[in-house]
Structure formats: structure tokens, C-alpha cells
Point group: C2
Chain length 409, copies 2
């Protein structure tokens, strides 16, 4: 495996201080699934009565663990629940062996921590096409159980890393009806090294009490504007998993109408999503793509996605080149409605193009100076309607090629 | 502008010997539209009675010249016809000025060579967002007319280059009813340098006699399996243009049933399309993506496109890494029907994966050796139906980043 020598220049200064979430405990161990000398398996155990919601990759070649999670996430149960995650091996495209490994791991976790197998959710991330040596995980379960601790979330975040250059965490504390509610989450992604795959794994925990169906509705809706609104290279993992558990031990019930909870959950999800982009392979710039004035929300997303995924736009940003022509190109190719003579383009606050041509007020030197920023906002107004959308991406650099082409496992 | 120092390693040894096509003459001049010291405008004039057909970019931000060509290509006329093409300036996203320039150039060509304006087709390729100094072209028309020559096609191919590392030409000679019919074509693409855009321009000439409607039907159908089946980086130009002219002077009529003509036209189009891929930015490998066993032709194309456009697949090829997991990923994300456990993957003749896992016969060393070839065939059989598709692409290398990010205009 390639060594990732450097932390992303877009990384936060340090792992954040995350609060205790009542009813959740964490442990991490060195199981040697593939990596040596580092923790590579994490276990999270949630109190009885916890609700679990999730969203997963839509890939047609999704992994055995994802399929298993999907079959379980719609169930209510009075019992506790557990998340078990290993790094180093994705257990993807491993045929019938893959399912047997998921069954073995989830069954062993259920037995060890005293919850039904139907409430044990597993994920695997790392190399694909190799059988998961699942006994290396199951043999460590007792040690994991003994290590469970309410403040072990940072260890868990470290254990799920593959080629991430930093561990990712985010939290929000809110007050609902005079009670303090915590939301804390961890994520991994999106470093990849041949023959590994980009996998985004996200686990979020709250001590709010919320019905599973309501939690799922929040998560599904917010996922569209957070994790589904980021892209590093347009490629989609076979293993992407987002799981959210609500233990209910904060003593306050959240309803579908709770704007405070929804807003806080949104902030945690967006923070983690941005951290994934900030760890994008070879990234040197964090890019926000805003589209407004679209005919429909779907059109706005299509345009934003075309811009955020365009190799020509992303290489121009890498080169600090205020190349608005490539944005025009991306809009043109997207397939959604656009009128060349009605659209306008801004770099940050700088009006670059309008009325089908470069803006009279635009000065190329201003554009070039703006592109030297580490954070870039590209704003396109289509002038056709009221719909808007925002996506986040990074630039496309030699670092991406180096990580994905220069090394072999 | 960045200098392209090297000819693509995938380039043919030399420009091919192209036959005279009866009824077509060519000229090229140094007009100094942008480049100095090289020919940058070409004129082709076709005999009276020529049929003209074409296909164009579907971009919503397409250039003024493309819009003008589209409005003209459906007309029949007994007159001659002309193609006028400049490099160095794309006349794209130039507002009302763009239309005025197209009008000025086509009108001047019409006056100069004695054909109606409605039969003059113009293209421009190069920098976008800058007004086209069209008088630099019109002032050269007399010189162009005087230079017209039946054997000037290579000069024409040279004049339409922007950052192409080699001029592109292809031909086919066939016998129909005892008469010799020639088909010869030239193309440019797909080198791009900030802030230029990838533009693919293709001009094909034949002395067959064929009704415009029949010619258009051939061209539209064959375009799908030739130029629409190649991709360098998934970005789409605002100016892509393919024009085909049939002069009728070979003395033989081609009907929609003529398999010989269709096959020859296909071969010329595919040859030129492959040359565009072989000049892909930074390309070091020529890659054929074959998909079979799909549920429908549309599904087969979606899968082929997902593989051919995947940055992870393309960087793996650049790294000579037999990374079949990334192909599984691309199939999974494409959105078209796939069954993880029914698909098989081959590198050339080497069976790599089947039945949802790596093939028992597969040896990683064989895969690694195969990936060292300059030409790579990736073959995916989905095991679901009878539909197939083939696309062509190149690898994604540091060269692509260098060309598109490291330099500024």
C-alpha cells in the first residue's frame, strides 16, 4: 500500500472535542485484518430502545455488509443495538464468502454484547475482492466489549480510517424543552489506493428519543443536501454507509416538527461531509458550487453536479486559473435547461460573465487573485427560475493521479 | 499558451496518403487569427449538387457557428457548398458578436466562391469568450480561393489543429457497380489548454452521389458507434461538429441499402474517432471498453460509458494496475441493470472475475503483464441479456493534469 505521508492541507487543526452521548459506548482494537500496528476494528453499542436509521450506496454491486444493513435498518426492536466496523478489507465482490463473513461477524457480536443479530450492523472498508478473515475480528470481541467506554469515539474514528489523512468527527449540542441533547458523529473517506475503493462510512449518535421512522425521514432528507451533495471524483463506492442511532437517554422526545433537532443533525452531517471533501485525494482547494435560477430543483442539482464533477473545471481550479469558459462548458453539457444568454457566473462576489459574454466589469486579474484562495465559491445563476442547489468538491491535482495511478498494492 | 512539446505516444507514424475526392478542393492560409507562423484557416469547396449532412454538439451553450450550421444542414440546394474553419478562437460565449462574426464570414465566403450563404458552413475552435477577429479571415478569402487544390487536404488537416499533437486523416476506397468511390476525412481534437476548450471538428468528403436525407441517416446512425463512442474526460465541447459532403462526381448513386458504402463510411469515421482518442490529453494507453450481455443497448452504453469515464479506472490503467475492483465499482454506480454475481470481467482474453468473485484461474501476474500493453481491452459481460456496446478511451495521467492545470494562457 502507498504511504500517505502528508495530512491534507485542507484538514482541520485537530480532532474536535466530542461530547458524551448518553447510552452509547465505543471500543477499538488492533485485530490485524490487514494493517499491522494500528487499531482497525471499532465497536459501538447502543442502549436498549435505541432507534437506528440509515442510508446506503445505490451501487448495483454493493457489498454483502451493505445488503445486510439494508435488510435490518427498517426494523423496530426494544433491544440494544451495535455497529461493528473493520478497515483494511471491504469484503466486497467476494461472492458467497462475503455473506458468510457478515453472518459470522454479526452473530458473534450479537452473542457477545447481548443484542439480537437483527440489531447488529456491520461495515467493512479497504481492499476488495479478498475474503474477509472474519475470525480475526470475532476473536477480538471480548476485548472490544471489555474496552467499551462512553468517551471512546475518537479511537473509533481512528480505527475506521483506511487512507484518510485525518480522522473525522463533528458534534452539536442543543437544548430541547430545557433538556440537553447531544449529536456526535464520525466519518471516514475518501482516500483510496489501488486496489482499494473509496468508501464513505458515517456513524452518528444522539441521545434524543425519536421514533425510527421519524429518524429515518430526517436522515434521508438531510442526506440529499449533505453527503449526496459532495463529490471528489464522481466515482461511487460499493460500500457507502451512513447509520444514525438515537438512544433516547437525554429524556426528551423529538418529533418530526423539531426544527432545532433537524438543524443540528444537518450541521453535523454537513460538517462531516465537508471533512470528507477536505480529505479528497490530492485536494488543495475546497470548492463550493452554487447554482441558482434553475427551472427545477432537479435541474439545479444536475448543473451543480456537472460543474463539480468536470475534470476540466477541477483542473482549472488546481491551476488557479479563473477559467469561466469551462464552467460554461459544464453547464452546456449537463443536459438540464440552460440559456447561454441568460446565465451569469460569479467567482465569490466577482461577476465574471453575463448576457452570453464576459461581464464588462470583469477584470481577469481579479479573477486570478480570487483563485489563489484555498476556499473557492463558484456561483452560477441560470436566470430561468427559482430553484437552487449547492454541492461541494475539491480540485483535481497531480496528487490524485499519484495516489490512484503511481502506486500499486 | 502551453507548448505541446511531444507528439502523443499513441500517434500514427505519419499522416496517411489520402486520395483525391472528385469535386472537392482545399486551401489553407496563415490568417493570424491567434497563432502566428502557421496556417490557421482552411477552406473546402464542393461542386454543385453536393449533399451535406452533419451532427453537432448537444451542448446547451453551443457556439454561434454550430447554431448556424444546424440551421443550414437540413437544406437541399443545387449549388456548390463550402466549409470554412479557423483555429485559435472558438467564437463561443461571445454574445451577439458571435452571431455577427458567423454571418460576416459565411457571407464573405459565399460571395468569394459563388455559392449561397445557406450553403456555407463555418466552424471555429480555440480560445472562448474572446470576440472573433473575423476580418482577419475575410481578408484572406481571395488568397484561399486562389490556393484551392484537389490535393490540399493534408494542409487543411494541419490548419484546423489547436493543441492536437498530430494532424488526423483517414480514407477508404470502395468499388460500387464497377465505379471507384472515395471517402476521405480529417479531424481535430482533443488537446485542450486553459482557457481553450476541447473541440472535435470532423470533415469527411466523398464523391459518391447520395441524397442528403440518406447521407444524414448514415451519418447520424454511424455517429453513435464512432464519435459518440469515444471519451477522453467526459467533458463536452460547445463546438463539436461533424460535416460530411458528397459531391456525386464518382458517377455512382448510393442508396440507403448500400452496405459497402455504409461500411466504408463507418471505417473512416471510426479511424478518425480513434485518432482523436489517441491524441487525448496525456494519453499513454488506448483503451477499448466492450460490454456484452446487457439487458438493452441503452444499458450497454451506460455501463460502457461509466467504465470509460471513471477516473479510478483510467488512473488504474495509467498505473498499469489490473484493478478489476474499480471496474466492478463503475458497473455498480452506472445506474443500469447489473447483477454482481452474474457479471464477468476480462482483460483482453484473460478471465479475471466471474460469479461475484475473482476467477479461480486468474493470476495477478498475468493481469499485471497484460496492463503493460499500449492497447488495452476491458471486456465486461453482464450475463443478463443480448445487448452489447463498445467505447474507446485513454488513460488518465499526470500529463492530463499538466496540460489542464499547470499552464495558464
Amino acid at each position: 500500500m502507498a504511504k500517505i505521508e502528508h495530512v491534507s492541507p485542507l484538514a482541520p487543526a485537530s480532532f474536535p472535542e466530542l461530547p458524551i452521548v448518553k447510552g452509547v459506548s465505543f471500543a477499538a482494537v488492533e485485530a490485524g485484518v490487514k494493517y499491522a500496528g494500528r487499531k482497525d476494528v471499532m465497536l459501538a453499542v447502543m442502549a436498549p430502545g435505541s432507534s437506528v436509521a440509515g442510508v446506503f450506496t445505490k451501487s448495483a454491486t454493493r457489498s454483502a455488509a451493505v445488503l445486510d444493513c439494508q435488510s435490518k435498518v427498517g426494523n423496530d426492536a426494544p433491544s440494544g443495538a451495535a455497529f461493528i466496523v473493520n478497515s483494511g478489507n471491504a469484503n466486497a465482490f467476494t461472492g458467497g464468502n462475503g455473506e458468510r463473513s457478515v453472518q459470522a461477524v454479526t452473530q458473534a457480536v450479537a452473542d457477545c454484547v447481548g443484542v439480537p443479530t437483527s440489531r447488529v450492523f456491520s461495515s467493512s472498508t479497504g481492499v476488495i475482492g479478498e475474503p474477509l478473515p472474519h475470525e480475526r475480528i470475532t476473536v477480538k470481541l471480548r476485548e472490544l466489549r471489555e474496552g467499551l467506554s462512553a468517551d471512546g469515539i475518537e479511537q473509533a474514528a481512528q480505527a475506521i480510517r483506511t487512507t484518510d489523512t485525518f480522522a473525522k468527527g463533528a458534534s452539536k449540542t442543543i437544548d430541547i424543552d430545557g433538556q440537553t441533547v447531544q449529536i456526535a458523529g464520525i466519518a471516514k473517506g475518501s482516500g483510496m489506493i489501488a486496489p482499494d475503493m473509496a468508501t464513505m462510512l458515517v456513524y452518528i449518535f444522539t441521545d434524543a428519543k425519536i421514533d425510527r421512522v421519524d429518524l429515518q425521514a430526517f436522515v434521508s432528507e438531510l442526506n440529499e443536501v449533505t453527503f449526496n451533495a459532495i463529490t471528489v471524483d464522481s466515482d461511487t463506492s460499493t460500500s457507502d454507509t451512513l447509520l444514525v442511532a438515537a438512544t433516547g437517554l437525554a429524556g426528551v422526545k423529538v418529533t418530526p416538527e423539531s426544527k432545532a433537532f433537524k438543524s443540528a443533525l444537518h450541521d453535523v452531517m454537513l460538517d462531516l461531509a465537508h471533512q470528507v471533501v477536505r480529505d479528497g485525494e490530492g485536494a488543495t482547494k475546497f470548492v463550493e458550487v452554487r447554482v441558482s435560477g434553475a427551472k427545477s430543483p432537479a435541474d439545479a442539482r444536475i448543473h451543480a453536479s456537472a460543474i463539480a464533477n468536470s475534470p476540466l473545471v477541477k483542473t482549472a481550479i488546481a491551476g488557479e486559473d479563473p477559467n469561466w469558459g469551462r464552467i460554461v462548458m459544464a453547464i452546456g453539457k449537463s443536459g438540464a435547461a440552460a440559456d447561454r444568454d441568460k446565465l451569469s457566473i460569479r467567482f465569490g462576489e466577482i461577476l465574471v460573465a453575463e448576457n452570453g459574454w464576459v461581464a464588462p466589469s470583469y477584470n481577469e486579474d481579479d479573477g486570478a487573485t480570487y483563485m489563489k484562495n484555498q476556499g473557492i465559491v463558484l456561483h452560477v445563476d441560470l436566470g430561468l427560475g427559482d430553484s437552487s442547489d449547492t454541492m461541494w468538491t475539491c480540485d483535481l491535482t497531480h496528487g490524485y493521479i499519484t495516489i490512484n495511478a503511481d502506486y500499486r498494492s
